[in-house]
Subunit: 225 residues, 2 copies
């Protein structure tokens, strides 16, 4: 029997749930993997999608993780100032084989001081804030720098998950998983990056999300570095 | 203010959570959308990934849905024989604007008698069972037939979600959402369908999932048609 690989995702209020549920779907099928959803307490956590997910373990009871993965979301704005969360991440990162993020979860790793001098992916709208934490933002879908692995925005978590599955279980197993999840994407449009989408769609999205982004930005700039 | 569009996903034990969380992520951002996760009772439901999700509403309290969407998973094997579930689906389907599925959730719509004479997508491994319910299996990623819209296996739920978002809110809004979720996929391998993966990977996956598939098959064949 393959020994357990403990793969833990930080769960937090207002997480973009697909940041977490995408890679969790893939990584949970890695042979020997045990998937954990970790939060301060074992109480339901509201996601950004009007439903809540239940943690599987509390910070206090979480085993040393082999893979620590931090998803993103607008909730990151609150988390970057939460000492209990930052301390948990720092403690786990010390012993983890991989320290990972999806989307703007990278900013939370940054706020915990875990990305100084590391290249990292991040959601395009949040990428530049990485500078504040001494990280090097990279406009790629999956970025690896030493034991840091990061995915870009939201759906990049699936590409990230398969890339990490190949690291953990070999390329053939990752391919089996890609087939199992029928990952042969056919996006209906070709507008998944700001360059491809063009300035008009970017402006429209910024108009929708601008206020929440500004609120989060204030908190990101309030983090002592 | 746009009137509410009630979008409901069936939640059930051993659902492949990404079948549901992928399109829910996208569709919840459609202007005016209210997303529901519906199950018999408002109790935590175990997904296939070692974590549970909480329903937002019970069958009894669920409003008439504009979009009824059934995700898949190995749990479908039990659901196709569950009269309470089938009755709920039939009742909702009557008044819904769209009756939808992702992955082998199509088989559950089929078992409820809702796909007779309809073309439908389905996870490739489960597609042929659609014949049993009088549906016409189609090897495409997203299939539309009158008011039935279906996605193929698991990750096809994202393509499905964006396609449906365009139906509900127009193409420009769907594009804004594709940009918001940075959906510019870069699969690490090119093996997301049986044709692309080749017979060896298909055999390896069948060896892993064969027993659970056989168990589900027995139940699918036990559905009276």
């Amino acid at each position: 029997m393959t020994p357990n690989i403990h793969i833990g995702f930080l769960l937090f209020p207002n997480v973009t749930q697909l940041d977490l549920t995408g890679p969790a779907q893939i990584l949970s099928r890695v042979p020997g993997a045990k998937t954990h959803l970790v939060w301060k307490r074992c109480e339901a956590v509201e996601t950004d999608v009007r439903f809540s997910i239940n943690p599987t373990v509390s910070f206090a009871d979480c085993p040393q993780l082999d893979v620590l993965c931090v998803p993103g979301g607008f909730g990151v704005g609150d988390m970057v100032l939460d000492e209990e969360v930052l301390a948990f991440l720092r403690g786990q990162a010390e012993g983890a084989r991989y320290v990972a993020s999806v989307c703007n979860g990278a900013l939370l790793l940054g706020a915990a001081g875990l990305l100084k001098g590391y290249r990292s992916a991040c959601h395009w709208m949040w990428r530049d804030y990485l500078h504040r934490f001494g990280a090097i933002p990279v406009a790629e879908r999956v970025v690896r720098d030493r034991n840091r692995i990061s995915g870009g925005g939201v759906t990049a978590g699936i590409d990230f998950g398969l890339t990490l599955a190949a690291e953990l279980a070999g390329e053939e197993m990752a391919k089996v998983l890609q087939l199992a999840f029928e990952y042969d994407p056919q996006p209906p449009f070709d507008c998944g990056t700001p360059d491809k989408a063009g300035s008009e769609l970017v402006a429209r999205l910024r108009a929708i999300q601008g206020e929440r982004l500004a609120q989060a930005e204030q908190k990101i700039f309030a983090v002592p570095v």
